[in-house]
Structure formats: structure tokens, C-alpha cells
Amino acid sequence: MSYADYINLVINGLVEGLIIALPALALTLVYGLARFPNAATGDIVAVGGYAGLAAHHLTGSLIVAGLAGAAGGAVASVLAYLLAFRPVIRRSVITLLLTSIGVGFVIRAALGVAFGHDPRAFDMPLERAWRFGDISIAPADLSLAALTLLTLALVFFMLYATPLGRSLRAIADDPDLARVSGIRRERCMLAMWTIAGVVCGIAGTVTGMRTVVYPDAGWNMLLPAFAAAVVGGLGNPLGAVMGALLLGVLQELSTPFVGFVYKIALGYVVMMVVLLLRPQGLFNRPVGVR
């Protein structure tokens, strides 16, 4: 292994980390406001993948595919909230958690029945990778990473520079205080689920373009996203993104030593070590009760 191979791995890790960052961000947003880890997040990603695939098939445009993926994810996410989560939103964490598992199963079943189980690929032109010495970068990866970064930037702008974002963060901080301050909770929840869905849908489209779209794609993304969000500290948006990038690079760099199978396990192991040593996550300040 020369240094260039490691740099290639780091680049690949950053791209994969960016993609995982999207569902991790969605998880952490839902956790911050609705207070449960949403196990259906991955399956919303898969919905976005199929929506993006269909749009790309019809129009051939990547932009349209991304927008359709975002719209598909948002619709699935809001529907899941209205039909399944809202009626039980005040019950215990386990009720919500099991409901989210159920929602995920229903979505995955629907995708399987509607689109079949064969993996489908985006019809993308093959492009030669750009080479700088021994370092190679796929142009497609670069544009997908740019799309991901743009999405992240928009979400963070929304969270930290708009009145809506301020309301969302206020609810996450202290729901009662937010309510007595006149923040309309229901509107904020709808907005939050829409944003989470958009982010997941784009993640689905982007992963679909890099690999393939299949009904279980989302479930396979769920645990890495959990790991990233926990490493960064659940409820902390920036932490989720940093955690995803960290895990992405770490997993890629470990591949030459531990192989492809344990690369995935490494993410969970890092998560458990972080929980053992710093339960609040790497980027959260300590909180009394967790």
C-alpha cells in the first residue's frame, strides 16, 4: 500500500461518510424533537431511491432525479408521521420505537411488492476517473458529494439562520418552554418530518446512483446511520455529520487490514466504545440524564 492508496481510501471514505451523514442527520433531528430513534429512517431512504430512479428513468436528468428523490422521501416521511407516529407521539419510547420498526417493515414490503426484489441501477454514463498521479477521483462521486454537501448546507442554514430553525431548536431544547413561548409545535413537527424525509430521499437517490436500488437498501443503511448519530451524540445535528465522516473514513482506512465484512462491524464497535467512554457522544456536552 502506498500513500496514494490511503488517500484514495480517505476520499472514498469521505464520500461514503457524506452519504451516511444524511440519514444520520435525519435520525438526530427526529430524535431531538420527537425523542425516539426512528428505525424507519432507512426505509424512507429506500423510497427516495426508487422515486429518484423513476424520475431519472423518465427524464434522464440528475437534478430532476434528486428533486424527485427528495419529494418521495418527504411524502413517505410525513405520511409515516401523520398515520403512524402522531397518534402515539406522547407514549413511551418503546411504543414509538416498535411503531417505527413496523413502519419500516410496511414500507419495505410495499417497495418489494411494487418494484420487485431485483436490484436496479441508474442508467449513468461511464466516465473515466480523473487521475492526479496515483490518486483517482470519479467525477460522479464528486458531483454526488457536492449534492450532498449542498443539502447539508441548506439544512444547517435552515436550522441556524431562519425563524423555523430557531423554533425547532427551541422545541428540542425544552418542549415546555417552547410551548409557553408560543411556538406552534404541530407546524414545527410537520416541518421537521418533511426535512428529515427530504434529507433521506436525497440520500437514497445518491446511494442509488453510486450502487443500486433495492428494497433492503435502506435497512442496510440504518445501522451505520445510527452508529454515526450516536458517535456524534444523538440530537446534535453537527455531531451526526461529523460522526458520519469520521466513521466513513475510519471504515475505509480499515479495509486493507480487516476486510470488507468487518469494515461494517467496525462502525458498531466504535459506537459501543464511544458509548462506554463518552455516552453523550463525541460532540455533545455532558448532560445529567441520558
Partner: protein, 296 residues
Amino acid sequence: MLTYLLSILVIMGIYMLLALALDLQYGFTGLINFGLAGFFGVGAYASALLTLKAGWTPLLSFPAAMLAAALLAWPLGRVALRLRDDYLAIVTLGFSEIVRLVLVQEQWLTNGVQGIPGVPRLGAGWGNARFSDMLLLVLLALSIAVAVAVLRRVTHSPYGRTIQAVRDDETAVYVLGKEPARFKTQVLMLGAALSGLAGAYFAHYMTYIVPDQFVPLITFYVWMAIIMGGVARLSGSVAGAVLLVLFLEGVRFTRGIIPGVSDADMGSVQLGVVGLVLILFMRWRPQGLFGGRGAR
């Protein structure tokens, strides 16, 4: 026909053990274990490997399977039990995936995705396969009876009241001078041992095990069973396991009589129904079909 009936009864029994384990952990102690399939798999592989590769008798390999699963639960307890409930769910789910990845990767030991064929049946030297299955069913029934008796004693003892207090109000337990984390670790290990036992029965009944038999879906089947049957009631777990297997067999039967439906589609329908049952029960009947005390 008898073979089919036998297989249904054995699978029911295995799910009963798993449901009892989960009910002890979740129903009585409030521990959200999403890694049941991991402990189940560890038990199955431990007993299979010990009898096949080390030549142990099942008399020893079954307790070893329970021990192996229980020991793996211990570090999990250390990691997760100081955290909020939902973290335990994520950690145990991750654990069961790690177990599956190890089973896939360590081919020198587990033969990877090809799995382990030829796990010896119980009492293989004494009679034919039918005899072995009957013997296994009898032993399984005995194990369930013992497990129910022990759990009933445990849950009605001061210890049982303590773990239920851990579920209902951890701070109160703490104030009474008891350490909730210790009780949680013990319950996690006890439940893991039961799951490991279920795994050992599974391995010696199927005689062929692959990592794909221990996917998280199995965990959620068991969750569905205890939620249908009603949590924190041992009879509810047993009834839930019966309902679950009837449901799974019903789906298989339906596929048999509707022509032109592929296995994959039927798998999707089955998954969807499991999902719907989880959603609807959590919303409308969190106490399960048969009602029950301690329902939340």
C-alpha cells in the same frame, strides 16, 4: 403429516423459549433487547460446533451454548445499562449484526455463508430421525416447563419485585439502596442464556445452520409474539409464540394455494403484515390480545 406437525410444534417451542427470554427482559425489567437473534445464533453455533468439531455430547454442549450466550450479554450490559432505554435497543441491534458478520467472516470456524451442515440430531445413535425429533420435542417441552416454573418463581420473589421496580421507577430502586445496573445485567444474561438454549435446540433440530437464519427479522418476530400475547405475563409469551407460528405457517399455506405468487412477494407480504401488527397493536392494544396486568 406427522413430520409436519412435529416441525410446527418444535418451532413453536423454540419461539416460546425466545419469547419467555424477551418477556423477562422487556416485560418484567423494561430492557429493550433488539439483539435476540444474536444470542439465538450464538447458542446455535456454539452447540453445533462443540458437538461437531470438539466431539462433545449435547448433554454438555447445551449448557455451554447457554453459557456462551450469557457471557456475551455481560459486556453489552456494561456498555448500555447506564444509558437511556433506547440506546440499549440500538446497541443490541448492532450487537446482533456483529454476531452475524463474525459468523460470515470467520470461515475457518463457521464455514461462512455456506453454513454448517450435519449438526448431529439428539440421540442419533438410538434410533431414526423420527425418534430424534420426538426426543428433541420432549426435551424442549421439558425445558419450557422448567423455564416457565423458574421464571414464575423468580418473578414472584423479592427479586422479581425488584426487577419490576427497575422497570417502573429506576430512581426509586436506587434510593432503596439497590443498584439497578446489576439487576439489569443479570436479567440480560439470564435472558441470553434462554435464547442460547433455544438456539441449541434449533441447531440440532434443523441439523443445518447458516448465518442468514439469525437476521434481525427473527428478533422482531419474537417482539411481535410477546406484544400479541401481552407483555409481563408468562402465559402471554407462550400464547404469543403459538399465534406467531400459526401466522407464519398460515402465510406459507396461503402461498401454496394461490398460484403465481413468488416466494419473494410472499416474503414481502409477510413482512408487511408483521409491520402492521406491530403498528396496530402498539396503538390500539398495547396490553396484547388477552389483556393483562402491568400493561403500559
